[in-house]
C-alpha cells in the first residue's frame, strides 16, 4: 500500500518546478507554533500553503539581493546585499531589525 507522503513526494519531483513542497512541513509547523504565545491549532493544510509562500519569499529576497550583488559587479552574494535588498523593499520592513543586528 503506497503511503500518501511518498507518492506526492514523487509527483513533486516530477513536476518540473524543483523545490515544490521540499521544505519540511513538520518544521514549518513547529516554527508556526512558536511564533506567538497563544497560537491556535493549525490545520494539516496550512503548512503546505506556508511552504509555497516561503519559497516565493526566498525567491524574491534572493533575487533582489542578487541585484545588489550585480550592482557591485561581484559574483558572490554577500550579507550586505541581503541587507540592502531588505532596506530597498517596503514589504521587507519587518526584516530591518534582523538585518541590522547581524
Amino acid at each position: 500500500m503506497r503511503q500518501a507522503g511518498t507518492y506526492s513526494g514523487l509527483l513533486s519531483k516530477m513536476s518540473g518546478r524543483a523545490g515544490t513542497h521540499s521544505l519540511p512541513l513538520a518544521r514549518i509547523k513547529k516554527i508556526m507554533k512558536k511564533s506567538g504565545d497563544d497560537v491556535k491549532m493549525i490545520s494539516g493544510e496550512a503548512p503546505i500553503v506556508f511552504s509555497k509562500a516561503c519559497e516565493l519569499f526566498i525567491e524574491e529576497l534572493t533575487k533582489r539581493s542578487w541585484t545588489m550583488t550585480m550592482q557591485g559587479k561581484r559574483r558572490t552574494l554577500l550579507k550586505d546585499d541581503v541587507a540592502s535588498a531588505v532596506i530597498a523593499t517596503d514589504i521587507f520592513d519587518f526584516l530591518l531589525t534582523l538585518v541590522s543586528e547581524s
Binding site: 506526492s8 509562500a53 516565493l56 526566498i58 534572493t62 558572490t76 550579507k79 541581503v82
Partner: protein, 156 residues
C-alpha cells in the same frame, strides 16, 4: 554563536534545514554565483521571520473569524494584509495541486477508472476549481458577517 543567540531565544530553536534552503537558493541564481555563508544564514533567518510574521497575522485573522483552527484561507488573507498579495495566486495553485495529488493516491488511482479524463479535461477541471476558489476568496474579502469592530485600523 553570539551570547544573544542563547539568551534571546527561550525555547529550542526551530529553523529550516540548511541543506534544503541552500539548494533552493542556489537554484534561483546563475550556476557560477557563490553565496557567502553568512548571507545564506541570514536568508534562512529571514525566512523563519517571514513564517513568524505570517503566522501571527494568520492567527489574528483566525481569531477575528471566531475560528479555532488556522486554515489555508486565513494564511492567504494574512499574506494579502501584509503586502504579499502577489503570492496568493501561486500559493493557492500549489495548494490545489497538492490536494489533487493527495486525492489521487488515496483513492488508489480511481480517477482513471471509467471516466478517464483527458489532460484537457483535467486542466479545465482545475481551472474551474481555481475560479470557484477565487470567487470564494473574493466573497470572503468583503468581510465576514460577525466581525467585532475593535480595531478598524487593521482593516485593509
Amino acid at each position: 554563536m553570539e551570547p544573544m543567540d542563547i539568551v534571546g531565544k527561550s525555547k529550542e530553536d526551530a529553523s529550516l534545514p540548511k541543506a534544503t534552503m541552500t539548494k533552493i537558493i542556489k537554484e534561483m541564481l546563475p550556476a557560477d554565483v557563490r553565496v557567502a555563508r553568512d548571507a545564506q544564514d541570514l536568508l534562512i533567518e529571514c525566512c523563519v521571520e517571514f513564517i513568524n510574521l505570517v503566522s501571527s497575522e494568520s492567527n489574528e485573522v483566525c481569531s477575528r473569524e471566531d475560528k479555532r483552527t488556522i486554515a489555508p484561507e486565513h494564511v492567504l488573507k494574512a499574506l494579502e494584509v501584509l503586502g504579499f498579495g502577489e503570492y496568493i495566486e501561486e500559493v493557492y495553485a500549489a495548494y490545489e495541486q497538492h490536494k489533487l495529488e493527495t486525492m489521487d493516491s488515496l483513492k488508489g488511482g480511481k480517477w482513471s477508472n471509467g471516466a478517464e479524463m483527458t489532460e484537457e479535461e483535467a486542466a479545465a477541471e482545475q481551472q474551474r476549481m481555481f475560479a470557484e476558489a477565487r470567487a470564494r476568496m473574493n466573497g470572503g474579502a468583503a468581510g465576514p458577517p460577525k466581525q467585532p469592530d475593535i480595531n478598524p485600523s487593521l482593516e485593509s
